[in-house]
């Protein structure tokens, strides 16, 4: 990528993640968008991309392109929603980057938003989440999204001969990290005993393996580098990659790996001209503990089957050799599904510009974010770097 035309993050903004009973899809997305625009010095916006998974089911509202543009006084600007299940947020970021790289747009506003608690019946939220899987061949037969991830967990545990506590290290670290993060949803610590005793959702998957349900919105202003003059904290997006796998998990040969995550990583690293050892900070998609582990493997950070040792060693702590999800990840910061990928990249941008507050790690230069849709069927990787 030519340096001057490279996409940069000029501004970020997000809401707290919680059950926002008082605020709508409109309120949340406009709050995050206006914060990001202000953070970027209010540049002229040429296009908007909205990342969202389930507004049609959860809120009876599609056409979020128009909704978001109007809610921030930008009617007239081209604006669409992008959907890639749980990876909708990072998908929106990637398509914004493509818009900037094409030369057609100088600045694109990305808004990831999910308003899950308007669906007050938990079974219906579960149905909405299950639309990320294969309806005809999985969901029809009684599969829930957690049950499919439970099958991945069992296969992974069997392949590497892991014990139940091996999966507890990641959620424990995530809760520890989230305690002092103002925008995080679950700001309390958990311990191994609590993890092991948490209820079984779908054997062997426990409640404390699962990210919570919540509402939130995050936004980024992505600009062409030579047009981003007003922001003093630019972060470059130096590589991105995405890949798909079979929609249904049972149609994959190896259930204990995420091939799409490996492919997406390879593509992002190749574009950036980097190797996994160049990462200083990592954002993984720990919607379920096992998926977090598989992300670390796919990113080339740990050997297959060794992710639990890496987390348990302390190397992934905020003060460790390679901090992972310093804000608490999906497990504890929260997982407003279609917004999550944008939160990950916004948090990375704050870390790389030394603006992450209580969760700030020491002097990171390169960060990577992995956002996973479905049971690993649609994966996006972005690599960010501090501008010298």
């Amino acid at each position: 990528m030519e340096v001057l035309r490279r996409p940069v993050i000029a501004g970020v903004g997000f809401t707290k993640i919680t059950a926002h009973w008082k605020y709508s899809l409109r309120d949340l997305s406009s709050e995050a968008a206006l914060k990001a625009l202000s953070d970027a010095g209010n540049p002229k916006i040429d296009a908007i991309v909205v990342g969202n998974m389930m507004s049609g089911i959860a809120n009876g509202q599609e056409n979020l392109g128009s909704l978001v543009a109007e809610s921030i006084g930008l009617s007239g600007v081209p604006s669409v929603k992008i959907e890639a299940a749980c990876a909708s947020g990072a998908a929106a970021v990637m398509w914004a980057c493509l818009g900037v790289l094409s030369g057609l747009f100088n600045s694109v506003l990305v808004v990831g938003v999910e308003k899950m608690t308007d669906v007050t019946d938990k079974e219906d939220v579960s149905s909405a989440l299950a639309t990320a899987a294969d309806y005809d061949y999985e969901v029809f037969f009684g599969a829930t999204f957690p049950s499919l991830n439970a099958i991945i967990m069992r296969s992974y545990a069997k392949t590497y001969d892991l014990a139940p506590e091996d999966f507890g290290h990641l959620p424990i670290l995530m809760h520890k990290n989230a305690v002092d993060v103002p925008h995080a949803q679950l700001r309390f610590p958990i311990n191994m005993e609590g993890y092991l005793n948490s209820p079984i959702i779908s054997d062997p998957l426990k409640l404390f393996d699962c990210a919570p349900i919540g509402d939130g919105a995050a936004a980024l202003v992505i600009m062409r580098r030579d047009r981003a003059r007003n922001s003093e904290h630019l972060i470059e997006i130096i590589g991105f990659g995405s890949a798909t796998d079979t929609l249904a998990m049972y149609r994959r040969e190896d259930l204990a790996r995420l091939k799409a995550a490996e492919l997406a990583t390879k593509r992002a690293l190749s574009m950036a001209g980097l190797e996994p050892k160049d990462f200083d900070i990592v954002q993984i998609h720990d919607a379920f503990s096992v998926i977090g582990y598989l992300n670390l493997e796919a990113l080339g950070i740990v050997e297959r089957g060794k992710a639990h040792e890496f987390i348990a060693s302390g190397d992934a702590d905020r003060s460790g050799a390679l901090p992972v999800n310093p804000e608490g990840g999906l497990k504890a910061r929260g997982h407003p599904v279609g917004a999550t990928g944008v939160y990950q990249i916004a948090e990375l941008a704050l870390q790389l510009s030394d603006r992450a507050g209580s969760s700030q790690i020491e002097n990171p230069n390169v960060g990577v974010a992995m956002n996973v849709g479905g049971t690993g069927s649609n994966v996006f990787v972005h690599i960010l770097r501090r501008v010298e």
């Binding site: 089911i57 219906d124 029809f140 049972y250």
Partner: protein, 134 residues
Amino acid sequence: MWAYRLNIPSHWRLLPERYRLIGGYCEECGYKTFPKQKICPKCGSKRIKSVELPRKGKVITYTVVQTPPRGFEYYTPYILAIIELEDGTRVFSQLTDIEPSEIHEGLEVEMTIRKIRVSGESGAIAYGYKFRPS
């Protein structure tokens, strides 16, 4: 709600798969899939014909669902499994005629037809494959 409401044509058009395990057979490389695909995922050939898959196989891996979606409360706890059929093709299915304590990897199973779900008091009843110990 939405994701689980049974629409009759969407079930009816899949009856060959759900009642008889009709899959696809690649005439170029011999690879089989369930369901049938237009393009062979192994070799890219478009010469795919329909084939009835074997009804016996073994459990590769599984989970026991404790938190069911709407419409599956009656069956809870129930087992969802990935089954490798005798020809190597894989299918995802609920197991039946078995207690969760009896399930293990490698368990030999066979296909049977059972009620899958009832869509409300006046809605359609959908039948399809489940697997039971053989």
